[in-house]
C-alpha cells in the first residue's frame, strides 16, 4: 500500500481521511512494514466499507488485513441499528469460523514418548478432509435443534460437559437464530458433517506453551511454559457458505430496491431493519450455532482420542472464539454507550477486563484471544484490553493470512517433503491429502508473530503466551 495515501496517527495507527462518498474515515492498525506489504485492494475495500449507510466511527482493518470478498479479511465495522446495514460479505462465507483451545493438564515431557500414538489416535478419531463424514446424521427436527442450540445442543447430546459452555462466546448458543430462514440446500450440506474438521486451512493441533509474556493473565488462563494445549480451527462447513452465497444474491437485489449505492457487488447489503436484513441475521446466527456445535463435537472426539493414549489427560476449555460474525454489542460511540451491529470478518472479538459477557473466572483479566498460525511456526494466546475496547470496538487480529496462492505453494513444495521436514523438527503431521499439505505449507503464510506484535503495539490486545505445534491434524 502506498503510504502517501494515509495519515499516520501514531506508530501503529494509519487513517484514510474521508473523501468522496466515505461517511467515516478508514483506520488501519499495523506496523509500517505490514502496511507497506498490504495490497492496494485493502485500501479500496476499507474505503468502500466506509461508504455504507449507518457506519459508526470508522472502517477498521486489523494488522493481518488482506483482500477479501467485499470487506477485507481483517475488516471490522459497526453499524447503527436503525440507519445501518448488514452485509454477508462483512461476515465472510465461513460464518463463525474460529478457534477453540483446550488445556490438557499434560506437559511436553509427558506426551513426547506417546506422540506418535496420539497423532494416529487423533487422526483416526476426528474426520478430516474432503468427503469425510461425521458420526451424527441429522433429521429435520434435530437439525433445527442444532441450529438453535449450538454447543449447548452438542452438550445435551452427550458431546462434552455443561462446564464447557461458559467459555464459549454467547455461552455456547447464539440467541435469535432462525432455522426456518436457513434454506433446505444449506441444511443438506450439513446433514452429516457435525464433528468434522473440513479442509483448507482448518486443523486440530496439539501445541506446547513455549513462552509466557504476561504471567498474571497466563495464570488466570491456566497456562504455564511446557504445558500442552489443543487448538481446533474450523467453522460452519458447507452450511455457512451456502447461507452466505444465497444472501449475496438476495442482498444484491434488495440493495437496489433500498437505493443502496454499491461500489462493489461483493459488498451487497441490506438495511438491518429490513426483511432481507433480518432473514440474513437469523440464518447467520443459526450458522454461528453450527460452528459452535461443530467445535464442541470435535472437542468430544479429541477427549476420546486423548483418553485412549494418555489416561491422565483432562481436556478443559480455555476459550472458544469466532472470527467471522456480525453481533449486537454495546460499545461507547462518541463517549456514550449504545447498541451497535458489529461485523468482524477475519477479526477476533477481544473484550477487555470487566466485560459482563465474560465468565467469572476470566472477567477481571479479559477475554482470551486465540490466534492461529501455521503448522510449522506458532500460534498465540492474547488477552483483550480496555484500550482495544476504545480503539476497535474490542476487536483484534485473527491469524497469519496467506502470502501466496495455493497454486504457487503447490509449485514450490511437495507434501511429502513438508511432512518429513516438520517431523525432523518434532512436529507430526497427519492429513488425508499430501497435496493439501503442500498447499498449506508454512512458507505459504505470512509471519503471524509480526501480526501479533503489531496488534499489541496498536493497543488492540496484549500477548499472553506463544504456542508451537507438536501434532497437526490437517483437513
Amino acid at each position: 500500500m502506498d503510504l502517501s495515501l494515509l495519515t499516520r496517527r501514531s506508530e501503529h495507527e494509519w487513517a484514510i481521511e474521508p473523501r468522496g462518498k466515505m461517511r467515516v474515515p478508514g483506520v488501519l492498525f499495523a506496523s509500517e512494514p505490514l502496511v507497506r506489504a498490504m495490497d492496494h485492494k485493502v485500501y479500496e475495500q476499507v474505503t468502500n466499507v466506509a461508504t455504507l449507510p449507518g457506519i459508526l466511527s470508522a472502517s477498521f482493518a486489523m494488522p493481518d488485513a488482506h483482500w477479501g470478498y467485499g470487506f477485507a479479511v481483517g475488516g471490522v465495522a459497526a453499524f447503527d441499528p436503525e440507519e445501518g446495514v448488514v452485509s454477508a460479505g462483512g461476515v465472510g462465507f465461513d460464518i463463525s469460523c474460529g478457534v477453540r483451545s483446550l488445556r490438557t493438564r499434560l506437559t511436553r515431557a509427558e506426551i513426547d514418548p506417546r506422540k506418535k500414538e496420539l497423532a494416529d489416535a487423533l487422526f483416526h478419531t476426528i474426520p478430516a478432509g474432503v468427503g469425510s463424514r461425521g458420526q451424527i446424521r441429522l433429521g429435520a427436527e434435530e437439525m433445527d435443534r442444532m441450529l438453535r442450540g449450538g454447543a449447548r445442543w452438542a452438550v445435551e447430546r452427550g458431546y462434552g460437559e455443561a462446564g464447557d459452555l461458559e467459555r464459549v462466546e454467547e455461552r455456547g448458543a447464539m440467541r435469535d437464530a432462525r432455522p426456518e430462514w436457513v434454506s433446505d440446500r444449506a441444511k443438506a450440506r450439513m446433514r452429516d458433517e457435525v464433528g468434522t474438521l473440513g479442509s483448507g486451512n482448518h486443523y486440530l493441533e496439539v501445541q506446547e506453551v513455549v513462552e509466557v509474556f504476561d504471567e498474571a493473565a497466563a495464570g488466570a488462563f491456566g497456562l504455564r511454559t511446557g504445558d500442552i494445549v489443543v487448538s481446533i480451527h474450523c467453522g460452519s462447513r458447507g452450511l455457512g457458505h451456502q447461507i452466505g452465497t444465497e444472501a449475496l444474491k438476495e442482498m444484491l437485489e434488495a440493495g437496489q430496491r433500498y437505493g443502496i449505492d454499491l461500489p462493489d457487488r461483493e459488498l451487497a447489503c441490506a438495511p438491518i431493519r429490513s426483511k432481507e436484513g433480518e432473514r440474513y441475521l437469523g440464518a447467520m446466527r443459526a450458522a454461528i450455532n453450527v460452528a459452535l456445535a461443530n467445535r464442541q463435537a470435535i472437542t468430544h472426539l479429541a477427549r476420546e482420542a486423548f483418553a485412549s493414549v494418555l489416561k491422565q489427560a483432562d481436556l478443559t476449555l480455555l476459550y472458544d472464539v469466532s472470527h467471522n460474525t456480525c453481533k449486537v454489542e454495546t460499545h461507547a460511540v462518541g463517549g456514550r454507550p449504545r447498541e451497535v451491529y458489529i461485523h468482524r470478518k477475519g477479526a477476533t472479538r477481544a473484550f477487555g477486563p470487566g466485560h459482563r459477557d465474560l465468565p467469572d473466572a476470566l472477567r477481571s483479566v479479559g477475554q482470551p484471544v486465540l490466534i492461529g498460525g501455521t503448522m510449522g511456526t506458532c500460534s498465540w494466546v492474547l488477552v483483550g484490553t480496555e484500550s482495544g475496547m476504545a480503539r476497535s470496538f474490542g476487536s483484534a487480529c485473527h491469524g497469519a493470512g496467506r502470502a501466496m496462492s495455493r497454486h504457487q505453494a503447490l509449485k514450490q513444495w511437495h507434501g511429502r517433503h513438508v511432512v518429513d521436514e516438520l517431523e525432523g523438527r518434532g512436529i507430526l503431521v497427519r492429513s488425508p491429502s499430501l497435496r493439501g499439505v503442500a498447499e498449506e505449507a508454512p512458507g505459504a503464510y505470512k509471519d503471524v508473530t509480526e501480526v501479533v506484535d503489531a496488534t499489541e503495539r496498536a493497543g488492540l490486545a496484549r500477548r499472553v503466551a506463544k504456542l508451537v505445534p507438536v501434532v497437526v491434524v490437517k483437513g
Partner: protein, 142 residues
C-alpha cells in the same frame, strides 16, 4: 484461425483460486469450467465415470448463469461426495441443463486437496474471444 481444443485452467487469486473454461460454444466453456472445479480438488484424470447426476439452473444474465452453474456443481460435490470427470451441458437462452459423470471420492486415489465451498462474484466473466470461442471464469472460495 485455428481454434484450440476446449480446455480448463486455474488462475491465481490470493487465498482462493480462479477457474476458467474455454470452448467453441458457451456450453462447452461452462463444461470446462466445471472440470476446473474438479481440478481444484484432484487430478481429473484420476476420476472414473461410475455415476451421473442431473443439474439445472436458470438466470437472466450469462454471468449469473455461470455463478449458479458452478454453485450447482459445488452443491452436488458437497452433498453426494462426488467428483466429476466430464459434463454434458446444454444452454438454451436463460436455461442450463446438464449431466455430470463421475464417481464418489476415494481418498487414497484422489488425494483430495481442498473442498470448493462456492462460486463468488469476483472476476466473474463470460466473454467471446476474437475467434468466436468462449471463455468463462470465476474465483471460487475454498
Amino acid at each position: 484461425m485455428a481454434f484450440a481444443a476446449p480446455r480448463h485452467e486455474h488462475f491465481a487469486h490470493d487465498a482462493d483460486i480462479g477457474v476458467r473454461g474455454r470452448g467453441r460454444t458457451l456450453a462447452e466453456a461452462f463444461a470446462q469450467a466445471g472440470m476446473a472445479l474438479t481440478a481444484v480438488v484432484t487430478d481429473p484424470a484420476t476420476v472414473q465415470e461410475t455415476l451421473s447426476v442431473a443439474l439445472a439452473c436458470e438466470s437472466s444474465e450469462p454471468e449469473g448463469l455461470l455463478f449458479d452453474w458452478l454453485n450447482a456443481v459445488v452443491f452436488e460435490m458437497a452433498t453426494r461426495d462426488v467428483l466429476f470427470a466430464r459434463y454434458e451441458v446444454e444452454i438454451e437462452g436463460e436455461r442450463l441443463r446438464a449431466r455430470g459423470f463421475g464417481e464418489p471420492v476415494v481418498v487414497e486415489r484422489h488425494q483430495p486437496a481442498v473442498e470448493v465451498k462456492g462460486a463468488t462474484m469476483t472476476a466473474l466473466r463470460v466473454a467471446r474471444e476474437a475467434d468466436g470461442s468462449w471463455v468463462v471464469e470465476c474465483v471460487v472460495d475454498v
